[in-house]
């Protein structure tokens, strides 16, 4: 059942969101009360700056500038990073940073969900009892530790004291999967802890609500085991909130892992944003933020499709949407 009209509408909505976000960033850039050309080329001659203004569209109005940037962006020209004496393409930076961020995100999600789903199911099943309280309290405590503190603790103990894992840098998969993983373990753990707490809490709440439903009693009256009821009957209708939250954090992990990427020197997309801001590379910032927004929107769409499979009722609602 593929509702073409619905998805067309949904994609259009998301495109509008993308346009609004990128336009907003573009306007903010133009609101900075400085000459962008001077910032990008601090030691250049006035002629060179005039050329840059013309090249980037700074000499046009804000809308003209945005349209020019957008035209370049959709053609894959994300602009340049300017040094005294040279330039690098933003797209080259992103080409290097994107796989790192994507892998970091995927590992973090897999680890967080692999731990949070069983914990959420168990604590909902044992709600109010000892195991539930132990799980909830432990996760609450862990989630109140900021992820950089977890990162530092991991570095101090696992990295330095026991020297089990390398503390810095990124190794591509091509150079050995195990070596690659060794560099990812600590960043992934640092990012997962907070997510595990959030996911477990969301799933627990939805499962507890679902466990009160008649269809659970119905399933029990068929003579099914508690295990089967939990995993086959209750988990699926209870996982829509969890999926939505996971989609949001996927976007967040792509662009927002700045601190962890800096601590472990894995330098992904989040770090690119940070570097662009620190180096006042506004074009790079604008394009990188746009790429991150693209990912947010993409994961949103993926989850929309996913919830349709998980909960057919949402599919039905779409027919009337």
């Amino acid at each position: 059942m593929f509702k073409f009209g619905f998805w067309l509408q949904r994609v259009a909505q998301l495109l509008i969101v993308l346009l609004l976000v990128t336009f907003g960033v573009s306007m903010l850039l133009r609101l900075i009360p400085v000459d962008l050309a001077t910032i990008l080329l601090p030691v250049a001659s006035e002629e060179e700056r005039v050329m840059l203004r013309a090249e980037l569209g700074f000499d046009k109005g804000p809308i003209g500038y945005y349209l020019q940037w957008l035209g370049n962006f959709v053609q894959g020209d994300f602009g340049k990073i300017y040094f005294s004496g040279g330039t690098e393409n933003v797209s080259d930076h992103l080409k290097q940073a994107m796989p790192r961020s994507l892998l970091l995100m995927v590992y973090t999600q897999v680890l967080a969900l692999a731990i949070a789903i069983p914990l959420g199911v168990l604590s909902a099943y044992r709600a109010g009892r000892r195991s539930d309280k132990v799980i909830s309290n432990t996760l609450f405590t862990l989630s109140s530790i900021p992820n950089f503190a977890i990162a530092l603790l991991l570095i101090i103990f696992i990295g330095v004291k026991f020297a089990w894992l390398p503390t810095l840098g990124y190794v591509p998969i091509a150079e050995g999967y195990w070596e690659h993983l060794k560099h990812m373990i600590m960043p992934v753990i640092s990012l997962s802890v907070g997510l595990i707490a959030t996911y477990t809490r969301l799933l627990r709440a939805d499962m507890i609500a679902a466990l009160r439903e008649d269809y659970v009693t119905m399933a029990a009256s068929k003579g099914l085991s508690d295990q089967r009821i939990l995993w086959r009957h209750v988990l699926r209708p209870s996982s829509v909130t969890l999926m939505t939250s996971a989609a949001l954090s996927m976007g967040g992990l792509i662009g927002g892992a700045i601190v962890i990427e800096s601590i472990f020197a894995t330098y992904g997309v989040g770090f690119e944003v940070f570097a662009a801001i620190a180096g006042r590379q506004y074009i790079a910032m604008q394009s990188t933020v746009a790429v991150i927004a693209l990912f947010y929107v993409f994961f949103n769409l993926v989850v929309d499709i996913g919830t349709g499979f998980v909960d057919p009722r949402t599919r039905d609602r779409r027919v009337n949407a």
Partner: protein, 325 residues
């Protein structure tokens, strides 16, 4: 006559924020094999809790059950959850009031219907599907193949209730608890479902506990009736006897509250002036006393004991109707 189900002194308490809630208290019921027993009472009188407690379906750390339940020679109250579970499907089964909420919203009818067959009867996936289709035909669903592939929300209320009945009878149970199976349905559909239950009961030689708040439903569909009030069975008699010669003022009030046929209200909700007593604090006397037109001083002070007429008619009242004191 041997009892298929024998409930003795059944009590259920829930621990709630406002203290212990006594939902069911001192219930004794015998269900002879091959009979249909009605359980009537207003909403909130404990009918659902009583049935679920009898089957052992009440979950949660706040549930306290007491008393004895013996089904087909098994003392359920002395068995482990797993042992009781082995009697579900082929021994006891239940259908629920609202077929929308009692079917899993995200799973297809086919998988919900075949599941019991596969788990309880260990059928293969293919055999279970074939049998599922037969079961849908048995409950008179016109297009079983399409329904097998549907989700509950795609079916009408009456269809969903038929599906639920099919699920309940899938493993040929000896006893079916039907908890208000027609309350959520249109009047015309109600009659069809009751008719279906009557036929299935005969064909499958199944006993039934038919829960309802409507004495009208009880009339043509049951051999015995238990009238529940505030968590207690206050009257128990053969159905014809109950209608002809009731003892309890509450039963009389229930009967009087049945709206006339020309009263176009859709569902027939029993309305008796006043409300059920607070289940966390039932006073000392008869729980019906504040609403009873026969109530006297003794009724407010002392809880009436269960009395038995020579013919087995049970009731709980100090001043029963039709008995010379």
């Amino acid at each position: 006559m041997s009892s298929l189900l024998s409930i003795k002194n059944l009590g259920v308490n829930f621990d709630t924020a406002r203290g212990s809630l006594e939902a069911v208290h001192g219930v004794d019921i015998e269900i002879p094999a091959g009979t249909s027993v009605g359980v009537v009472g207003e909403s909130g009188s404990g009918k659902t809790v009583m049935c679920r407690a009898a089957m052992g379906l009440l979950q949660g750390s706040n549930v306290k059950r007491s008393g004895t339940v013996i089904f087909d020679g098994h003392e359920l109250t002395a068995m482990s959850k797993e042992e009781v579970r082995n009697l579900f499907g082929s021994g006891m089964a239940m259908i629920f009031q609202d077929p929308m909420t009692a079917l899993n919203p995200v799973r297809r009818i086919g998988s919900q219907l075949s599941e019991g067959l596969r788990v309880r009867l260990e059928m293969s996936k293919k055999d279970a599907m074939v049998r599922s289709k037969e079961l849908l035909e048995l409950v008179r669903i016109p297009n079983p193949t399409a329904v097998l592939n549907s989700f509950p929300y795609q079916l009408s209320g009456g269809m969903r209730q038929r599906v639920m009945i099919a699920i309940a009878i899938a493993c040929n149970p000896k006893l079916l608890f039907a908890d208000e199976p027609t309350t959520a349905l249109d009047v015309t559909v109600q009659a069809q479902i009751l008719q279906l239950l009557r036929e299935l009961r005969e064909d499958l030689k199944m006993s039934m506990v038919l829960v309802t708040h409507d004495l009208g439903v009880v009339a043509g569909n049951t051999d015995y009736v238990a009238v529940m009030y505030a968590g207690e069975v206050v009257e128990y008699a053969p159905t014809t006897k109950l209608f002809a010669d009731m003892r309890m003022p509450y039963t009389e009030a229930l009967l009087e509250s049945i709206p006339k046929v020309d009263h176009k209200s859709g569902t027939r909700l029993a309305v008796i002036a006043g409300r059920l007593p607070n289940p966390t604090d039932r006073g000392a006397g008869c729980s019906f006393a504040p609403r009873c037109k026969y109530a006297q001083e003794k009724c407010h002070k002392e809880h009436p004991e269960l009395k038995k007429d020579p013919d087995g008619h049970l009731y709980r009242c100090w001043y029963p109707i039709g008995v010379a004191l």
